[in-house]
Symmetry: C2
Subunit: 381 residues, 2 copies
Amino acid sequence: MRYDLFSADDHVIEHARVWTDRLPAQLREAGPHVVEDDGREFWVYEGVRSEQMGLNAVAGKTADEYTPDPIRFSDMIPGCYDPVARADDILANGIRASVCFPTLPKFGGTLFATFTDKHLADLCVKAYNDFMIEEWCASVPGLYVPMIIGQLWDPVALAAEIRRCAAMGNRAISFPENTVPLGLPSFFTDHWDPVWEAATETDTVICMHIGTSGGLTSPSPDAPGFGQLSPVVIALANVNSFVASVNLAMSPVPRKFPTLKIVFSEGGIGWVPAAIERADRQTLRHKHWSGSDDLLPSEVFARNFWFCMIEEPVGIKYRYDIGVDRILWECDYPHVDTPWPHSQQAVDDVLGDIPAEEQEAICHTNAEALFRWKMAPVPVG
Amino acid sequence: MRYDLFSADDHVIEHARVWTDRLPAQLREAGPHVVEDDGREFWVYEGVRSEQMGLNAVAGKTADEYTPDPIRFSDMIPGCYDPVARADDILANGIRASVCFPTLPKFGGTLFATFTDKHLADLCVKAYNDFMIEEWCASVPGLYVPMIIGQLWDPVALAAEIRRCAAMGNRAISFPENTVPLGLPSFFTDHWDPVWEAATETDTVICMHIGTSGGLTSPSPDAPGFGQLSPVVIALANVNSFVASVNLAMSPVPRKFPTLKIVFSEGGIGWVPAAIERADRQTLRHKHWSGSDDLLPSEVFARNFWFCMIEEPVGIKYRYDIGVDRILWECDYPHVDTPWPHSQQAVDDVLGDIPAEEQEAICHTNAEALFRWKMAPVPVG
């Protein structure tokens, strides 16, 4: 195994009992649970039915088997929803640490903010977080880096949840890349200050996954695809991190919370130098009338931000303009961007020719320092 | 003068009589005309009043004098609206060819599509085009490369206008980077085929300026700025060309019209390699279920697209990944992105260290071939 890998972005597929195992009996029907109907499986919550999308669980399939059509648990390999089975899968690829985003609650945990019953929503958030820390991560000690979600409708409750989970060993929180499209206050308000403060105090890393603002970039809604998901939308997914990072870099957030750590997940890295260059130039050019301060976007990128890369030769070519210390490898298991089960080959194709210490930084040491999570010297599990 | 410059993106500020000089008498009040009121100048058309924004006419000012506040013609240097005065300005910077976008009709000529009276709108489009070819360009022969606008509410009329103006020597048309946000059919329909067909037949270059889709990228509408224009929005303006180019590359347009020539204006170049890399990879990955054909986005970028650069050291560093033959220099006179009156120095700062033939390609020979417009050997005017 040539590369020791720390994946900064993978995805849990929650098993059917994550919430029913934890919600009080009288709320189990209202909370997320799985029902079978006519040979199909549905998640049901607050009267809403949804199915699992095939592209979210392709691990073990080849590209000609990929489909966005709805699937059942039995269509997936167990590693999608079983942390012990997954440990075998990823350890076999040399992946010895993994940060996992939620699926049913949406990648940014935004689903529960749409619940009518906010008491139920609060319990659903806590149930997911308890599942993540006490079940998913605990099942294979040392392998899974805990990452929680929050009560996005209540920043004070969210801050308390960050502190509660930090005491349980939590390292990160999945948070929307932009709150405005979700109908919530922007990062230019002080609305989220309790969250940034709790994250700073507990050294909890903020992970902002593409799409967590509630949408992807869709210039032609009628482009052929599966519902709103077309190859155009997929090709432009990195634009979400481009926009989110420049927006945050120019916002009050890194000014008021200078030690905050923010990861842009699955957004790629190759666009970073162009984003920084224009943002710096325009900040200086429009400083007089706009009242911008002296903190340049490039300084925020180099101090507060990290970026994730799967297979991006051009991004690695530009690594000195991005900052080798800013780049995290990710596997995206079991999603469609994943190179698994060929992670070692995919890493070698992209990183094979760079100096060993840079390989190590991108493959694991950057992430180990960021998440305060030293990988076990010998594979666990 | 070290560099011979061809600017692929400048801006006309139309003088007050562009439309009143050309519209029939009974339509002059309804068409665009300038009125004075309480010391301010307003463009008035179909009962709407608008003012000129300061950032659109900063030529001759220093950064500490920039302002988005409304200005009058007398606040501008004459080169903004007088082609003979402008010739002196730009020739003094070594600029010997210039493609100019409209201002009052909006950069993509989209204003007239919002007119209630479409007969008036049609005459306004033609009046602008006649002004561009017969007045602006004719006033300094050889210096200004004619670029028209079109009747966006009627693709057949637009195609006829492309042919009418091509016979008058026209070389380019300003067209929206995306029609969907304007409430018009997308590039994935055949609605615009008459336009692409006329452009192909007459070898008319399609220029798509950032913002012509009707908006810029504004992740935080409450970010401090001037109305909707904040430093965040300005910093993210290159995202418009990123999205527009990937969208078009994956659309039927370059498949049905393989010789079409499209320029993305003021959108920069540094993001191009990252955009191509992800678009190609995702096209291949999702080919099976989405039915994509074999024409990769990178092939369309290298065959049908050109990109504009003002001051972008990082983009020039990545020029072999973009294609040196794809890069056009632009001045953006008299807008806020312009390096004028220091164009020679700005070009030298960015291109000074690259091989002479690459300097020439980016400064003028790429644009000369694209627009079929050989710069005069000795400065004109």
